[in-house]
């Protein structure tokens, strides 16, 4: 039973473990996805910064053209050169990362060309500060158109990168969702399986326990039945001996006494007297036999009186001091069957104390307390090792236990080598049917 509990516990542990592992897996997948996303966003950022640079260059170009400020001119050229350098680096990385991407490659090529052209035009433009105004205006608008085209191409690139990032994001999200779903699914399945198994085990355990209890109940009932049959049989035999044999032998003795009357011849007198003595011995023996078979006193005067008689008898027969104390139990209306069980347990305990314990004093106590009746038999004998007694099953202990169990009473046996023995039988007086509630 304990083992099955352990198994159920282990199953629960496995279930919880699988959930924990799943949670860990999901967490790992999520963080990996986040990492992939961070890897992709630099491309988008680079494209945006490129666009920023280019706008700056264009603005510086205009300013230079309009004001003729040489510092603006230098800034314009540096910006443009930086934009170009950055773009070259960007394009290299992009090609290395996605060599097969047609759209992007074409786009990059076009932007590269545009940037080159832009630089050339810018150089020409910067040289032509002294151009006549109409020509300058023409060159400026040409340059403007070129810048517009470059910006547009960059916009396309940014949009493209944006789309790509979005797509990766979408793909990742999908994959992540699927991964989560499948991990949680597996975890749920494991959990369900484990729980199901645990529940099934629990049920099987419950059934096994119920079957065990039923078996115990049946055994107790069987023992109770066989004890009752035995008691009934003994009572019947005792009654037969008492009512028939004893009486007939008594009558025989009386008849022989009459035969041995004063007017009888000597020989007849002697023979009759001898036979009478034999008949009397027989009646005496039968009386003792009857007493041993069934303590009639229980029915006539109650358990306390019967125990008193038992104590006297034991004291007389074995020279051991037997003391009986009854507290509040004399008035208990026990049915004859239960009273007999108490009597038999006490009898067995006395027999043990005398035969195995070599006791010199034995105390029998019958005490009633709070709806329970308790019999205690304590001796000062040599005691025994409870473990040894349990394995060897001697000392009449099993018999006492069976008596108690059949009654629905508990039996405690306490002993130690050299420290005497105490046997206590406890019966709740409220239990209506003696054997039916005997299951522990």
């Amino acid at each position: 039973m304990r083992q099955s509990r352990l198994i159920i516990f282990a199953l629960f542990a496995v279930g919880l473990g699988s959930v924990a592992v799943s949670a860990l897996l999901v967490h790992r997948v999520s963080s990996t996805a986040a990492e992939i996303q961070t890897l992709h966003s630099p491309a988008l950022a680079a494209a945006l910064s490129l666009k920023g640079l280019l706008s700056h260059a264009v603005q510086s170009g205009y300013a230079h053209q309009l004001t003729g400020d040489p510092r603006q001119r230098a800034a314009f050229r540096t910006s443009l050169a930086r934009a170009r350098r950055q773009f070259v680096a960007y394009a290299r990385t992009a090609r290395a990362e996605q060599p097969g991407e047609e759209t992007e490659r074409a786009l990059l090529g076009r932007i590269g060309k545009l940037l080159g052209e832009l630089e050339r035009r810018a150089a020409a433009l910067s040289r032509s500060t002294r151009l006549p105004t109409p020509d300058r205006a023409g060159a400026l608008s040409g340059y403007q158109a070129l810048v517009d085209r470059a910006l547009k191409a960059l916009d396309t690139l940014v949009a493209h990168e944006h789309r790509e990032v979005k797509q990766v994001d979408r793909l990742l999200r999908g994959a992540l969702g699927e991964a989560r779903l499948s991990i949680w699914g597996v975890a749920a399945a494991v959990l369900l399986l484990v729980l199901g198994t645990a529940v099934m085990l629990q049920r099987a355990l419950g059934r096994a326990n119920a079957a065990l209890a039923e078996q115990r109940r049946l055994r107790d009932r069987f023992v109770e039945g066989s004890l009752r049959v035995q008691d009934d049989e003994r009572r019947r035999i005792a009654r037969e001996l008492h009512d028939e044999t004893g009486q007939a032998l008594s009558a025989l003795a009386v008849g022989l006494r009459q035969l041995a009357g004063p007017e009888a011849p000597d020989e007849t007198h002697q023979a009759a007297a001898r036979l009478q003595a034999i008949a009397e011995d027989l009646v005496d023996g039968i009386g003792r036999l009857v007493d041993g078979l069934h303590p009639q006193l229980i029915e006539d005067q109650g358990l306390a009186a019967a125990l008193g008689h038992l104590a006297d008898k034991t004291q007389r027969a074995h020279g051991v001091q037997v003391d009986l104390e009854v507290a509040g139990a004399a008035g208990v209306a026990l049915d004859a069957g239960r009273a007999l069980a108490f009597y038999r347990v006490a009898q067995e305990a006395l027999t043990n104390a005398v035969r195995h314990g070599k006791a010199t004093q034995i105390d029998i106590c019958l005490v009633r307390r709070a709806g329970a009746l308790r019999l205690t038999v304590e001796d000062d004998g040599c005691g025994f090792d409870a473990g040894v007694a349990a394995t060897q099953g001697g000392l009449g202990l099993p018999g006492m236990r069976e008596r108690a169990a059949a009654l629905g009473a508990t039996l405690a046996v306490e002993s130690q080598p050299g420290a005497g023995t105490t046997i206590a039988m406890d019966l709740a007086l409220d239990s209506s049917s003696p054997a039916a509630e005997a299951t522990p």
Binding site: H242, D243, G246, Q247, A248, S250, A251, L252, A253, V254, G255, L256, R257, Q258, G261, Q276, A279, E280, V283, D284, G287, V290, D291, Q296, L297, D300, Q301, A305, G308, H309, A311, D312, Q315, R316, D323, L324, E325, A327, G328, Q361, D363, I364, C365, V367, R369, A370, R374, L375, T376, E378, A412, E414, T422, A424, D426
Partner: protein, 230 residues
């Protein structure tokens, strides 16, 4: 003939009853007035015949011997009851005497004693002779008047000792008492030893008697246990 002792026999065992009747009738100083096999008829017969002696078996169907003996004093005051029984047992003797029987004869010795018993009872003496191998009567008397213990003041016991005493008196084994009070068995052993020493008692039965006399087994003291269990 006024010298003859009138006897009524009540026993449901016919063979013995008739044997006894024959034996009694054969005596010159006795006459069997009636034989009956149940208690009620025996009482009726005694009321009508007013015999000197009623010989009555203890165990009879219907009205038992004890009841007959009890009612006899009222219903036939002249008649003296002589109990005749298989029970060679002081407890039955005691209850028969308590019911008012004048004599008690066991059937095993009926043949040799019943005539003497009838005569003794008729003379107004008591006739009690249980065969009983030595000391049984003494045992019966001793059990009847179990020596009460000298009062030992309750205050000399500590609360714990009183708890242990109560549990022992209630029939707990030392181990059970240890569990009830939440202490080790060894402590119970030593508590018990100490309180036995204090009270000058050595046996469980004496402890029960002491606790009973000291009123420790009344419900009001049950709270002591609860205090110990807390």
């Amino acid at each position: 003939m006024s010298a003859s002792i009138g006897v009524v026999l009540a026993d449901d065992h016919a063979v013995l009853r008739e044997g006894l009747a024959a034996l009694i009738d054969a005596q010159p100083d006795m006459t069997v007035l009636a034989q009956l096999d149940d208690g009620a008829a025996a009482l009726t017969s005694c009321r009508e015949l007013s015999p000197d002696v009623l010989i009555v078996d203890l165990t009879m169907p219907g009205v038992g011997g004890l009841e007959v003996v009890e009612k006899l004093a009222q219903q036939a005051p002249r008649t003296r009851a002589l109990v005749l029984t298989m029970h060679d047992n002081p407890r039955y003797l005691r209850s028969a005497l308590a019911a008012g029987a004048a004599g008690y004869v066991v059937k095993a010795l009926a043949a040799r004693e019943v005539l003497d018993a009838i005569r003794a009872v008729h003379r107004g003496e008591a006739f009690v002779r249980v065969s009983l191998a030595g000391g049984a009567l003494g045992g019966a008397v001793a059990t009847a008047t179990a020596p009460r213990l000298r009062g030992v003041p309750k205050a000399t016991l500590s609360q714990r000792e009183r708890q242990v005493l109560r549990l022992i008196a209630y029939g707990y084994t030392n181990l059970e008492a240890a569990e009830a009070l939440g202490v080790g068995k060894k402590s119970i052993d030593s508590y018990r030893e100490r309180l036995q020493h204090k009270l000058g008692l050595s046996r469980r039965s004496e402890l029960v008697r002491y606790a009973l006399d000291a009123g420790l087994l009344s419900a009001e003291h049950d709270a002591d246990d609860d205090a110990g269990e807390g």
